[in-house]
Symmetry: C3
Subunit: 463 residues, 3 copies
Amino acid sequence: MTGAETNMRLKLPIICFILEIILIILFGVLVQYDDETDAREWHNKLNHGNKSHSEHNGHAESEIHSEYENDFYYRYPSFQDVHVMIFIGFGFLMTFLQRYGFSSVGFNFLIAAFSLQWATLMQGFFHGMHGGKIHIGVESMINADFCTGAVLISFGAVLGKTSPVQLLVMAIFEVTLLWLSLFQAKDAGGSMTIHTFGAYFGLTVTRVLYRPNLDKSKHKNCSVYHSDLFAMIGTIYLWMFWPSFNSAVTAHGDDQHRTAMNTYYSLAACTLATYGMSAVTAHDGKLDMVHIQNAALAGGVAAGTAGEMMLTPVGSMIVGFLAGIISVLGYKYLSPILEEKLKVQDTCGVHNLHGMPGVLGAIVGAVTAAVATTDVYGKGMEDVFPDVAKGDITASYQGVRQAISLAVTLGMALVGGLIVGFLLKLPIYGAPPDTICFEDNIYWEVNEVSLPVSEVLHIQCLA
Amino acid sequence: MTGAETNMRLKLPIICFILEIILIILFGVLVQYDDETDAREWHNKLNHGNKSHSEHNGHAESEIHSEYENDFYYRYPSFQDVHVMIFIGFGFLMTFLQRYGFSSVGFNFLIAAFSLQWATLMQGFFHGMHGGKIHIGVESMINADFCTGAVLISFGAVLGKTSPVQLLVMAIFEVTLLWLSLFQAKDAGGSMTIHTFGAYFGLTVTRVLYRPNLDKSKHKNCSVYHSDLFAMIGTIYLWMFWPSFNSAVTAHGDDQHRTAMNTYYSLAACTLATYGMSAVTAHDGKLDMVHIQNAALAGGVAAGTAGEMMLTPVGSMIVGFLAGIISVLGYKYLSPILEEKLKVQDTCGVHNLHGMPGVLGAIVGAVTAAVATTDVYGKGMEDVFPDVAKGDITASYQGVRQAISLAVTLGMALVGGLIVGFLLKLPIYGAPPDTICFEDNIYWEVNEVSLPVSEVLHIQCLA
Amino acid sequence: MTGAETNMRLKLPIICFILEIILIILFGVLVQYDDETDAREWHNKLNHGNKSHSEHNGHAESEIHSEYENDFYYRYPSFQDVHVMIFIGFGFLMTFLQRYGFSSVGFNFLIAAFSLQWATLMQGFFHGMHGGKIHIGVESMINADFCTGAVLISFGAVLGKTSPVQLLVMAIFEVTLLWLSLFQAKDAGGSMTIHTFGAYFGLTVTRVLYRPNLDKSKHKNCSVYHSDLFAMIGTIYLWMFWPSFNSAVTAHGDDQHRTAMNTYYSLAACTLATYGMSAVTAHDGKLDMVHIQNAALAGGVAAGTAGEMMLTPVGSMIVGFLAGIISVLGYKYLSPILEEKLKVQDTCGVHNLHGMPGVLGAIVGAVTAAVATTDVYGKGMEDVFPDVAKGDITASYQGVRQAISLAVTLGMALVGGLIVGFLLKLPIYGAPPDTICFEDNIYWEVNEVSLPVSEVLHIQCLA
């Protein structure tokens, strides 16, 4: 049924094995336990800490008095929530397509498992070599998962139109570029680094890979009843754990606590805005699952930069409320225009969930940073804006820095996406033909007779 | 297909936007970070703690020596488990209906997102204004989620027969009444406050909203194969995380630890009772998914009050065992009677899962409190029964107080449900007609041709 | 439709009630709160700790200075992750069969709820009576869940061919034998104790229960599209939380941290190996869901023993990579041979997921232990290999001990499985006939007309 060129018998094993062997070699040469995971180093710290019995507070964290002060206990629960978002959240969110569930969950699984290893190396290369070695622990694991999130956002833009080999190649470059483009801004939940970068990178890639005859697969580019329920599993997990995502790598204490809470209220407000907007924009007043599955999450994206700041609960709610409105409007009015006029075929609408809300979040972050005062932050300024607390820069300048960071991120995403897009256009990766997009059967063994449920029942996509 | 009156084009957006704008205004005026989420306040506490280097124990919790003592680290993992119960647990538990999955998960999502914001305000109003301000942090987030749980229980009683606008109106009043009815009793897991209140409130509402012609939708009021599997996702998450639910706001240390463990064993015993009872009450010895999905959870409900007390593991198991038996008997014999004789159309059988087991839990709590002795509790009495520890009241009186609290809760639920029920009877909310209950299509865009799987396959509910 | 002998009306209630009543009696006589869950004991520890204000470190854990040092805070998040693996992970992994989803999740639920109670008693009997009493807390809860995991692995081998009564009887004996066979080796994640034992016990049982006419049910022994998606929920949860599983009972501090990280990288490498091997072994280059659902997890199994040791990140990746390769090869080439030649009907292929990777993990553990040096472990040697640290034995001898433990585990599993298999052959448990295996309808109420979706659509298993 499918041509020889989409056969993965050699292509996929070759890239999987070569990549994993390269990873193993590089890990062997470069990667070490950090001093919280290494048996000897940790116990050295612990013994040293016991000798000097002086201060015991969160700031002097290098003095350790107890096994309980291992960072594992203060980061690992957040890590696991992030992990669930990456593998269940993103994976199942994309199962909404009627016959692309295996690929959605399965390719998500594959490229995430690769990306987290590659991201471990890249963050070490660009942001933390210690005597020629990369030191790893729970915080680097969270960052690796974060970086993977950006790749999965881009996956959403090209969903249904790419081979697993293409996706792995995309991941290699995207992870590398993402670490290159990091800039001195506060962005704990990644409104810029993860969401804006992942979205505009993916949108540029899908633009370059434009398929003029994609309407030949149009009848498969929609959901069926149970595929929408599977997608809701992804949505709800992303929604619930977003507070953990935004707070996972902020400073300990009030910072993590505040970030989680701001995100919680931003998401709640966003959800009400989403339901309202979904009903008001439908001609018959019926709710659209696409909006609920996606736009209700925009509040988490938009709180990704300012969430750790003193945004206040009401500020968070306003941000979430706006994000939900923008996102539904994007799905309803902007996406069709992007597809028709700009030839951007954005399968999951990542521009509406990650792109615009990411930019909104970056702007909110810049403004919130610019108005920061010692009166509001007290000694907590050291955690949130250390350079401002030290007096090296003013709060306004921190705001400018945030804005520059957004510009850099956007620029890198567009340029990077352009280059990688052309690279992915080479006819060597086994991409599906226009007639068999959004279809598991091309890369997966499927019980043949069971698959065409939609055909037996004459399911058609709504106009 | 559906009349103009069920069209949500204006009704739903209006209520969503008005409610969210009111919430934003009230949050702006009233709500502040508490001293564990506020940057300045937390660092003031932290610095003060460091100066006075005297005692360092769990009781003098106001003296803080380290970022690691922020309550975030001791409550947030429990909060996230509770959050999963609210959004995945309740949401998917109700997807058992064959064509009501979008509404079950989707309306659950909407009313929970609203209720948690409204509950934040109500708990502040009635239980903790600080100089005219409501202070919020992880503990208030847990309480907001708890309160939301009561609303979702009531949702279970009216499932399939209400519009989203009705549900939001119900939530406004139920959340308010719930905080009004709180009484000086120990009820950490909410056997009374959450389960008994939510169930009897919802049952009264559904009684007032009685639909004599509901049998016209009877063929949709049952499950299909995969909808039962989706529902099991909800069941299992509720079951697994119930120990976190009951222990989420108990005192730190042994209290949280013991509450979680008591609930764990209560649920395990309940599960065996449920399987045994389900088989023995079926004429052909086959297990009934309705029992497994619901009655196996009754052990968590019944351990909601006494779970934090010295109930002992064996005590917990006995309570869970009884709860499972009562719950299956309720589904099998009591629910049909309630429907036929008392005209209570209880879609999910919340009377069997939350109502009776909640009352059982309240009684077990009163008895366990009444027999508490210093010999058993030692200094731990201060955490569990502070008034008894201080000598202000006797343990017997604490037991009486618990019993009075149950009576107050029941009274408030019945009176409140009556009033709110009549309010919801007004023909302005777009409730579905009797012929189109238990049907997503009335409020959701559904791929038309895909929906009638059950009709194509001639699915009928079992008698 | 089904004969009287498979009717569960009496059999299942009798065994459920008798077992639960025995459990309640034994818990009443033997089980007590430990000193971290008992109100009086914990507060005694706490007050004592406050008096002696001397040292405060992780080693002298008996001196408690704060409620925050209760083990609940350092074990409970891991416990909940393990709990999810047991009930969602194992439960949904087995829903891949087209009409056995109720039984997969439902019997998993039943036997797990029983086993965790029984395992609490058995671990106390064999490994920790205190003055005639069994003391329980979060660590014993984790161990009870672990032991349950072994039973569920065995369930995977006999899936679809046993009655719930048989499964409960199997659980009684398997839990008991497992605690009997524990040996002085390090095996925190249970490569030997849980995976090797569970797999070879189950394989022996299914061999004894060999059904020569099982091909009469062959058309039901395969998946449909949505059943494979439900199974992926199980897979992904197992995969994500395996780091918590392996680290749940290791020593506090670096040990838990390192174990989780080693497992994370082992699983990531395993996943790439699995995808590569799945494509290369398929004649048409298409990925096989069976491999993805199962073999991608083998990296967690194989890191179960050495994960807590100084395996290094690259060591973990090599182990995971090998485990993935072995596991896919097992599914592709070994399972058909085992079935045809050795008459081992292994429904879920537990030999490939738990058996061989478990043995691999045990061998890796023995080798890693044998080469341990103080130079690498420093003072951390006390946590990982206390006998080596004390100088009682050499590292090489520890390696020998690990190898002996593997042999003992295998021996006990085979002998135990043989005996229990013959016990389960008695025709009194209501096992399904050969013609109605892999079929929910025999033990569950199913909406009759909805079930034969596969028949309506003429679904057949692939050759």
